[in-house]
């Protein structure tokens, strides 16, 4: 079948002024052929000047991440014909949220920089353990998903928060952080969580679920972020808007069952910043949108909710104790 590849090309080094442009190539694609094979064919037969990264061709090296029909994918494990069936064409652009070197080759230095920032290796506790730490199946499973990362950058390429905030630590480095915070041998989890709780850290995530959806290896960075946040709150690192947002949600559910928006705003922002919300609140009120302040009746059966919370809190405390004994 003849298929059209439309590729966004850009060569910033050549003169610098020329903007990116789209070049189309027609190639013959057979059943089962990958987008990478298509690109190799174009490079071999039609246009040797087309630049793209590749190596293993089997979704292990993480070199060929790019934007295919709008979403981050590995070219080597994306087949051409199903994409054609869905979109009618193959539109390829460089991985988003990264600076382009040439055509589909992007600068990965920001990716590595973010990874370096989270100290991507185990650090021992101050007092060295006197015997080996036994890793149970459960312990290993806790960080399993995050170990599947091949550092292709698909998650960062599709991250909605990174698109706005270049300095955001972003999902790849956060999944890597969980790899160590969640490891029973790690000696500096709290210090790590402290650092991740600062500006541009883990509370910048907008929960758009793109990272988890478009990771080709099932790393589930969003779940890693949720676990990091859970551990941070548990460790008492709550002096930031993100953590306050979370604890005010819990308070609200335990107190009345449903979300008390006014109380949440107040608890998350604090007194002074809540004052800043007053003009906006007036405008909301003109349209009847101001949340009722603290006047909620609790839902029917709130006792059930409180019993469940209480029981789970007991469980959680035990789990924590068990983890800490290990260290």
């Amino acid at each position: 079948m003849r298929v059209k590849f439309k590729i966004r090309r850009h060569d910033p080094a050549a003169g610098g002024k020329r903007k990116s442009y789209v070049q189309a190539y027609d190639i013959e694609a057979a059943e089962g052929m990958s987008v990478l094979e298509g690109l190799l064919k174009i490079g071999d037969q039609l246009d040797p000047s087309l630049a793209f990264r590749k190596s293993c061709r089997s979704a292990i090296c993480g070199s060929c991440a790019m934007t295919i029909n709008g979403f981050s994918k590995l070219a080597c494990n994306t087949q051409i014909l199903p994409q054609i069936k869905k979109h009618g064409e193959i539109v390829i652009e460089p991985l988003k949220n990264h600076t382009v070197y040439k055509d589909l080759v992007v600068d990965f230095s920001s990716f590595w920089g973010k990874l370096n920032k989270v100290t991507p290796y185990l650090t021992p506790p101050e007092e060295s353990p006197t015997e080996e730490v036994r890793i149970t199946k459960e312990d290993a499973e806790a960080v399993d998903d995050s170990q599947k990362c091949i550092m292709c950058g698909c998650c960062n390429g599709s991250c909605n928060a990174l698109e706005i905030d270049d300095n955001y630590i972003a999902p790849a480095a956060l999944a890597k952080s969980w790899r160590f915070v969640g490891d029973v041998r790690e000696g500096n989890s709290t210090r790590r969580l402290d650092k991740l709780s600062t500006e541009h850290g883990m509370w910048t995530c907008v929960r758009c679920v793109h990272c988890t959806q478009y990771c080709p290896k099932g790393v589930k960075p969003l779940e890693a972020i949720e676990k990091l946040r859970d551990r941070a709150v548990e460790a008492g690192i709550t002096d930031n808007h993100g953590a306050k947002h979370v604890t005010s949600m819990l308070d609200s559910i335990k107190r009345v069952g449903i979300l008390d928006e006014a109380a949440m705003t107040f608890k998350t922002l604090g007194f002074v910043r809540s004052l800043g919300m007053i003009p906006f609140g007036f405008k909301m009120q003109m349209h009847g949108k101001m949340p009722r302040p603290l006047l909620f009746p609790a839902i029917d059966g709130i006792d059930e909710v409180r019993k469940i919370c209480k029981e789970r809190e007991k469980e959680k405390a035990k789990e924590r104790l068990k983890r800490e004994k290990k260290k």
Binding site: W203, Q213, H245, L250, R292, I299, R312
Partner: protein, 300 residues
Amino acid sequence: MALKYAYYPGCASKEITKESDRSTRKLAKALGIKLHDMPKATCCGAGLLTDYDKQLTLAINARIFAQAEEMGMDILTICSTCLMVMNTVNHELRNTPGQLERTNKLLAKAGLHYSGKVEIKQLLWVLNDDYGLKKLKEKVVNPLTRLKVAPFYGCHSLRPSDALGFDDPEKPVSLENTIRAIGAEPVDYSGKTKCCGFQIDLVNEDLAVDMTGKRLLDAKGETFVSRIDDINIKGADCMVTPCPLCHVNLDSYQEIAEKRLSRKIVLPVFHLSQLVGLAIGLKEKDLGLTRNMVSPESIL
């Protein structure tokens, strides 16, 4: 047999986006869909509770499902975040070995039990699948033929797709098809499956609002968008979203986005129930259009 659901509007629609709840009730009544209230339902946790403790989120949501089970109905929600949280929980309970039993142990403390059989659907899904767009089309008395409508899916009505299992997150069609069924024209634009920013409104307002502004300008065809055929993009007259949280940002925060971007946007944003309601002849008052902060008056 008439469609009936355990109705879970979500916390936002009980308070700051009441118009979404009210218009959904009117719409359901007009279409003959029965909505049964769930007075015992809690908040789903909106993802924030998952940040505190996943196991608790599973139990709190399973408690909601147990109520629906008692009522003998599936759940209909009008919030994408509730939809995502609840389906993610249900997926976990059904597919992770031992998880349903573990969660039921917590529920047992409150004398409850969940079998794992309840389905959680969004109004958009119900209109497309259960009710049917063909039937909806027959109900249209006021086809919105003049309107170019930007469908805004946002994140949680599509992802994570393994848990949701509805529509295609890379090429969704359900909102477009609904827009066509009520006589209007859907407009394609790059940001329709991206984030509105709502989740971090209170944590990092600037970032959230930048996101909101970007989505709105995309829909109006006023930004450079990376889709290759962007020259063909027509600006939308209005936007429609199945999610009240997206609505908060796209509508209520629109003026703040305008200030940050130092430019006018003025794009009316409808709740799905409002736009469909208009087409089937419901009164503007019943749809609560005056509660929308960007007035849709000029395009109606």
